[in-house]
């Protein structure tokens, strides 16, 4: 396994597709983090321009049905969709990793309980779970985070559990057990650092799933609350006006797809770097 710096050097810069993904991700991250302080205009100001105005020099992405400038709305959408998913996935990764470690290392009843719990979450139709959670908790950021967590938790548990099963059989774990290390110590000192690679890879995939879920919830009107925008809510807003104001769906849809794609590409690169697959040619 190589360090993050080596991954960055060897993989990210070595290949155009990944470079594209990394650059796009960087731009989106920048817009997401610093969007509110950029001189792009107020995403919430109604009647800033004409209703459903086409893209122009003044309004690069056009205006929406309440005359709001669409460009700052898209930037705000990136912020909601991206940051919200990132927070949710980060929280889930911590919980899922700990549960996966416990399941993989403790085995037996703990494993059974955690595995069943993950199965239950997994067998629950994701979007129905999303609707239920959003309805119980009320629409908004907290429930979006919960839904993303529910949907991605089993991914982390499963991956961490299977990696843990592999690592737990290795010599250094047995040596630590024989030396009398406590279960917690074995899990945190010996297992955790060794599953982090797999967690990293899963993190990027979970992030892309998280973004899909967040935007899907917002698309159904269960995500961020108006007038704030998320890419999903902009799409919902735009899809009603597709025929006369196609720029709304096109801009927010393209940005959303680009965001997910850049996360996927970077995830691929991280995976390739951590676990290079080099099959042999058939000649």
């Amino acid at each position: 396994m190589s360090g993050v710096r080596q991954i960055a050097r060897r993989r990210l810069l070595g290949d155009g597709l990944t470079l594209f993904g990394a650059l796009a991700l960087g731009c989106l991250l920048f817009l997401g983090l610093f969007g509110p302080w950029l001189p792009l205009g107020d995403p919430l100001r109604i009647a800033a321009g004409p209703r459903l105005g086409a893209p122009s020099a003044q309004f690069l992405f056009g205006t929406d049905e309440l005359g709001r400038d669409f460009l700052p709305r898209v930037v705000q959408g990136i912020r909601s969709t991206f940051l919200l998913s990132a927070i949710a996935v980060a929280i889930t990764a911590v919980i899922g990793t700990l549960l996966g470690l416990a399941a993989g290392y403790l085995g037996r009843h703990t494993d059974q309980m955690i595995a069943r719990g993950a199965d239950i979450l997994f067998a629950f139709p994701a979007l129905v779970a999303g609707l239920l959670v959003a309805a119980v908790m009320g629409p908004g950021q907290a429930s979006a985070i919960t839904v993303i967590s529910i949907a991605t938790l089993p991914l982390f548990i499963r991956v961490v559990r299977s990696v843990t099963l592999g690592v737990a059989g290795r010599g250094f774990v047995t040596a630590a057990e024989v030396a009398g290390a406590s279960t917690l110590r074995v899990m945190l000192v010996h297992l955790l650092p060794n599953v982090m690679g797999a967690v990293m890879v899963q993190l990027t995939y979970a992030l892309s799933i998280g973004m899909i879920i967040e935007s899907a919830l917002s698309f159904l009107g269960l995500g961020v609350q108006p007038p704030d925008a998320s890419l999903g809510s902009l799409l919902r807003q735009g899809s009603a006006y597709l025929t006369i104001a196609p720029w709304m769906v096109l801009t927010s849809g393209a940005v959303l797809s680009l965001a997910i794609m850049s996360v996927n590409l970077v995830g691929d690169a991280v995976r390739d770097a951590l676990e290079p697959l080099k099959g042999r040619p058939l000649t």
């Binding site: 199965d119 139709p125 119980v136 042999r280």
Partner: protein, 319 residues
Amino acid sequence: MRLIAYLLPRILAALITLFGVSVLVFLSLRLLPGGYADILLGPFVTPEARALIAQRYGLDQPLVVQYMRWVWAMLGGDFGVSMVTQRPVIAELLRRAPVTLQLALIALTLALVVGYPLGVLSGVRAASRRRKRDFGRVVGAMGASVPDFVLGSVLIFVFSVWSLWFRVGGYVPFGTDPVGNLRTMLLPGLTLSVFGVALILRTTRDTVLRVMTEPHITAAVARGATPGAIIRCHILRNAAIPVVTVVATYFGFLLGGAVIVEVLFSVPGVGLYIFNGLLNRDYAIVQGGVLLAAVVFITINMLADVLYALIDPRVGAAR
């Protein structure tokens, strides 16, 4: 015998999972703010009317009693009645299941027919050329990046402005009018399949690459087998193993989770039924629908396990 020994613990685990799902869906529904009384009476709901409706549907009973009644009735095949239509939920679910199944099958077929061969091709090429910028990665990354509601919205727009052969909404059963049926079902199927293409392509590509690191492939090359023969005899079968699991999960997801696409394209499937049931607080529909989806999901995954064991002889023996 070995198959039974292999399946029995899985069935037990599945039952526990189902129990968990049933409790979860039951409780979360009861936690929802607002009930069917609100939906039926609109703003005119009074405490008396609310109590009357609760009594009519047994909602005034303690939760444990309600849950037990529900489970007991379900064991007898009675999923309860929809509060909106007063019709048995199970009949409606069974009527809609084939619609969802057809949608899922269209999506799955498209995803498999496109994703699997492309994945194999891309994996073999990637292994041979040691280049990461191959079409498999591009198609995979793009397919996984366009959410179904984005694609669906655009498709609806495109196909309704230029009214091409496809149609949005207006489902007719395949048995009644096969052509009309396909006109309405292909678009949502296509929308659903895009993610599946990417999923299957990526999984297949990874698996092929992984299989191609195995010594038995080198052994086959060393024996002078042609690439075609190696792919046919060794790679396809070995690479199918993880793909089976992914396909099962995807199929299960299609059967239980195609809500957005069904809503967007007005496809009267199970997802739409559950979605509307949830909006209407029609408890029996959501409970029954979610449970059915979970049963289907678990069963398909179990079938995948069996298939897995059939393809990979090591699995059954490992127990």
